[in-house]
Symmetry: C2
Subunit: 229 residues, 2 copies
C-alpha cells in the first residue's frame, strides 16, 4: 500500500506538471503551482524527482516510449506488406508517422492532449528544441527517413530532410491547440478536432514530399533513363 500510494502521488505530480508545463512553458510555472495542482506539499516533488528540471525530463519520458513504439510498429506493418519490387508509398509512410499520434489523441484526449501541446512548445523552442527532440525522437525519425528514401530512391537527401522539417512543424502546431485556427475560421474548424487533422495531414504532407523530391521534370527524366543521379 505504501508502494501503491507512492505511485499514485508521483503520477499526480507528473500529471499536474505535464498540464502546467504544456500551458505555460517550463519557466512559466513554479514548483509550488505544480504541487498545489497535484494536491501535495512542495517538498514531495523534490523527494520524488530531485529537481524541477528532472521532473520535466520525467514528464517527457513517461509517454515518449509509448508513442514511438506505436509508430515503429505502424511503420513495420507498412514495410512488411511491401518488398523491393513494390516499395511502400510516401502516403503510407507518412500515415504511419502521423496516424498513431493523432489516433491516440483523438481516443484518449483528456489524458494525452497536454503532453502533445508540450511537445509542440519544445519543438519550437531554441532552448530545448534541438537537444530534447533529437534525444527522444530522432532515432525513430531516422527510420522513417530511410523508408522515405526507399520510396523516392532518386531524391536528393537534403530535400527529404527539409520535407521532414515541414512535416514536423505542421504536425506539432496541430498539437499545440492554441485556438488560433478556431479564431481564424470563425468556428468552422476546431483546433482540437483530431479527426479533421487526421483526414487531411497525410495527403497534404505526402503531396508536398512528392513535389519536392520528385518534381515533374525530374520524374519524366527519371522514367526516360532511370538511375541517373
Amino acid at each position: 500500500m505504501a508502494q501503491k500510494k507512492k505511485k499514485a502521488t508521483s503520477d499526480r505530480i507528473l500529471n499536474a506538471a505535464e498540464r502546467l508545463f504544456a500551458q505555460h512553458g517550463f519557466d512559466g510555472v513554479t514548483m509550488r503551482q505544480i504541487m498545489r495542482a497535484a494536491g501535495a506539499d512542495v517538498a514531495l516533488a523534490y523527494y520524488h524527482f530531485k529537481s524541477k528540471r528532472d521532473l520535466f525530463d520525467a514528464v517527457m519520458l513517461r509517454r515518449v516510449e509509448v508513442v514511438n513504439e506505436m509508430r515503429l510498429q505502424a511503420l513495420e506493418r507498412v514495410e512488411r506488406s511491401h518488398d523491393k519490387d513494390d516499395p511502400a508509398t510516401v502516403e503510407e509512410i507518412i500515415a504511419a508517422f502521423v496516424h498513431p499520434l493523432l489516433d491516440q489523441l483523438a481516443r484518449n484526449q483528456e489524458e494525452w492532449r497536454h503532453y502533445y501541446a508540450l511537445i509542440a512548445q519544445i519543438n519550437n523552442s531554441p532552448e530545448f528544441g534541438g537537444a530534447v527532440m533529437t534525444k527522444y525522437f530522432d532515432p525513430l525519425v531516422r527510420r522513417f527517413i530511410q523508408a522515405l528514401r526507399r520510396a523516392m530512391p532518386d531524391s536528393d537527401p537534403a530535400d527529404i530532410f527539409w520535407g521532414y522539417q515541414f512535416l514536423s512543424g505542421a504536425l506539432t502546431l496541430t498539437f499545440a491547440e492554441t485556438g488560433r485556427l478556431d479564431n481564424l475560421s470563425e468556428g468552422l474548424c476546431r483546433s482540437d478536432d483530431m479527426d479533421a487533422a487526421n483526414a487531411r495531414m497525410p495527403a497534404f504532407i505526402a503531396a508536398g514530399f512528392r513535389a519536392l523530391c520528385m518534381p515533374k521534370p525530374k520524374l519524366a527524366q527519371l522514367k526516360a533513363k532511370p538511375k541517373k543521379k
Copy 2:
C-alpha cells in the same frame, strides 16, 4: 541629442529583449538580464516600457507592420498580374506569403532572426499563441485565404483553413532555428539556410494545398468543364 539618445537606448533595450525572449521565452528571462545585455539600468526599462509585458508587446509590434506590409504588397503584385479569367495560382499566392519573410531573413539575418524565432515560439504557445498571432497576423492571413479560395474555387473552406494551419506550422518551425535539422541530417542541412528553405517551401506547401483542396477526381471534373460554380 536628448531625443537621439532616447531612441538609441530604447532600441538597445528592444534588441536585447527580442534576442533573449526569442532564446528563452517570456518567462525564461528576467528584466535584470535584459537590461544587463542592453547595458543600462533596470529602472530604465520600466521608464520606457512600463512593464515586462508591455516591453514584450513593443518587441512584437516593432517589426510586425514591416513584414505584413511586404507580404501584402507581394500579394497585390500577384493579383494585379491576373484577372478573373486567369486567376493567380496557388504557388504564386504561397510564394507571396512566404518569400518576403524568408528573403528578409536571408538578407538581414543578424537583425531579424531573433524576431522570427520569437514568432515561432509564440505561434506554438497555448498561452500567447491564439491571442497574439490572431491580433497581429490574422487580418493579413484572411486576405491570403481569400486569394487561395479564388485560386481553388470549388474547395471546401475547411480544407483551406487546415492547409493554412499546416503552412503556418511548417513556416514557423523553419524560423525557430532550433538546430534539430542540423543534428538530424548530420550537417547536410543547416537550420539557418534560408535560401534552402525558400527554394523548397512554396513548392511543398502548394502541392499540399492542391492535394487537399483539389484532389484528382475533382481536378479532372474541373478541367472537363471550366468555370463551373
